[in-house]
Symmetry: C3
Subunit: 312 residues, 3 copies
């Protein structure tokens, strides 16, 4: 299976492809500490160039891609503020911008506020487009690094009980990872959230169709002792109809020591970051808290994807 653009997690249904990506990511981490990585990307006729086009700020994701590209011996041209692009201001279409920028670079990582933007970009680009978030749409490299982290931490991506907690309605990260997990074997899912922001019905329907069992509930404590992976997201005030309602529920979704004490020894806590109050610093030193290692894994996962896209 040949990757060119990376637009959505549906491209990663193939288990063999996932395993190739994960083993290459693990190899990248080792090589990064020991070998001359510039040999990993072809540098003749010249160092490859990645263009970062960010129409929304996401410095963490941008720096992760840029560091990955530079570790491979590649180079980067970058805009952290594309909406003020003179051409965007003047009303230029995204596809015109992509047509031009795709002549300047060997690949483009695109963050845009509109769902479907990465797909449209890929239709006109001469070089690979990597979707780094298209509004409420997808952010496939985040889902891949989440799954890679599970693999690295627990040694498997099958036979898992995974609990998602927090904002399950709006988190594209959660939707993409749920999709990928449902492709694996013997997965049980637990969805813990306030009523206002529970898992969308189309994803629930998809899981039923796939025969992937899932359970929805409003409090975390009763499932904490069951799960292998606790995937936490922020619960944002602005999602609630009233501040009273928000204040009533918010503490039910905080992963404090009471929760971690209930969790299994071999379990792990993930979070796409940034975290706010839902993960109090008191649990950072718990060896099961894997969220900072998860961010690190993003670097090697992205090195792996970039090297696959650019080695042609």
């Amino acid at each position: 299976m040949n990757l060119f653009h990376i637009i959505e997690v549906q491209q990663f249904k193939d288990r063999g492809l996932l395993e190739d990506i994960f083993s290459l990511s693990a190899r990248m981490e080792k090589l990064d500490e020991s070998k001359d990585l510039s040999l990993l990307l072809p540098s003749v006729p010249r160092r490859k160039i990645l263009a970062s086009l960010f129409y929304e700020p996401s410095t963490r994701t941008r720096l992760s891609f840029e560091s990955a590209m530079k570790r491979l011996g590649g180079d980067v041209i970058s805009t952290e503020d594309a909406p003020h692009f003179s051409s965007a201001v003047k009303g230029e279409s995204l596809t015109d911008t992509i047509k031009v920028v795709s002549s300047f670079a060997d690949a483009i990582v695109l963050r845009h506020y509109e769902e479907g933007s990465a797909k449209r970009a890929s239709e006109v680009s001469k070089v690979p487009i990597i979707n780094a978030g298209d509004g409420p749409g997808q952010h496939p490299t985040q889902a891949l690094l989440d799954l890679y982290t599970i693999k690295k931490e627990l040694g498997r991506i099958d036979n898992l009980k995974v609990c998602f907690v927090g904002d399950l309605l709006y988190s594209r990260t959660v939707h993409s990872l749920v999709y990928l997990l449902a492709q694996q074997n013997n997965i049980e899912l637990y969805f813990v959230s306030p009523e206002e922001i529970r898992m969308p019905r189309d994803i629930a329907d998809y899981l039923k169709e796939k025969g992937c069992p899932f359970f929805e509930q409003e409090t975390l404590f009763e499932v904490a002792h069951i799960v292998d992976i606790l995937y936490v997201t922020r619960v944002q005030k602005e999602r609630f109809r009233s501040i009273v309602e928000y204040e009533r529920v918010k503490d039910s979704y905080v992963v404090d020591k009471q929760i971690t004490q209930a969790m299994k020894e071999g379990s792990r806590i993930l979070h796409p970051l940034p975290r706010v109050q839902e993960l109090p610093p008191e649990i950072d030193s718990d060896s099961r808290s894997a969220y900072f290692r998860q961010a690190d894994n993003g670097l090697y996962l992205r090195m792996s994807l970039l090297s696959m896209l650019l080695k042609q």
Copy 2:
């Protein structure tokens, strides 16, 4: 003729210099696909560094220069938001900024909102200044890439009938290209624009003095079948005294299929981009639509100029 700063098109009157730049640009395009370009810039004692100082957003131009520099094996330090330069906020003069930054880099590409800024910068800089647009002033590398595109598309820069359409009053791109064209042999110019934004009188006077024939009119259709090059620019609403007036004329400057059907087989359509409604997407697939190739040419033209400036 030795280039150091690149400030205005008047520096490119010499036909031999133009031809050197164009043949080097063509060579850059070939080398970029086949050879190790890092040999083209001296890299001892170290990789050369280009500083991008953009006091106005122009990401397309910035990325074009930065990609050009990196393709040559050089490196870049960059600011896409120089007005928020702490020193600019504190009232530092442009010349002080240039004095300091010219110690950090081997060349500076400067975009600034004030006419004459590039000239002033060049008076204090230790390293070459490249003017990437000085307000209503000049943008010489755009004019050079326009002329290079004509050369590449038609094989010549003499014996041409060139029509400029749209905003001829405020477009510095048009003024600079008209200047360069008037230096060549057997050029006939057609200026098509609403009365409000016709070619300034000083340029008309210059053409008369040069003996370069030109014709002004208000509608495009009647000249479409004559011209070798149709150079299109945006007609901006805000240039008009009234919105009624704008609505009345705007469609006369749209290059739709009716216009392209009237055009000669061997003609070409150029546009500095970004384009809005004046070039409907329906004509993009016409082989005479050269505007995206024109943007690509900018990359090689800039590689050529940077290598000339930095090979000392």
Copy 3:
């Protein structure tokens, strides 16, 4: 003495360390013109990466660090607008950001608006933190380059009469340099400022304790003929209780030709830049005006520090 983080000038009390840094800086300047600097940083397993995290604009400082890193054969990932960091907007703590970014880079140069931020960052970072200004706190590389400039211009950092003029209350640059000077031998200090913005009492107390003589006064002219170094800073209108008061005093702190004529032949004028009216351009051509050379020295001083931090 091993440097890891660079947070405050108090780390540079050791005279041997200072001399090592200065002689390495001088060597950097020579090498930069003659040798392949990429050998100065280890590039196996890969080119080292510096992350620039700027929560306040300071393009001069940022470009100086980035140029230094690239001259050494290293690479840079950069954000010139970190407050719009999606994670900062979402309420992420600085320490979380640093934990993540310190996985992407081999060192971090941090500019932040809060005093103590660099220290807090250093407590969680896996890689060296370089403080490039923490609000009203410190900016140690500025103080080091100031002292290096004195060494380069006068050949010594002992036996000096140094006058600070302008805003002595709020200038962290002045405080840090005063601290470093007081560590050297036979230093006499002169503080010239309006009453409103004189040297803080804790620094005066520190100097008394150190036995370093200092003299405070309100006008410049009477000391101009005495000093070896005249260190000038901006007097900002907004520091004054009334505009009348500002207008009354501001001209007393302008270093015009009347002042320079009174100064000794072997003396020097320094300024951290940007300068506004306090250094009129008429004195720029005076060979004792060292402020632009001072900015240049920053580049070599930073190359020297980066190479010390990254050669492990």
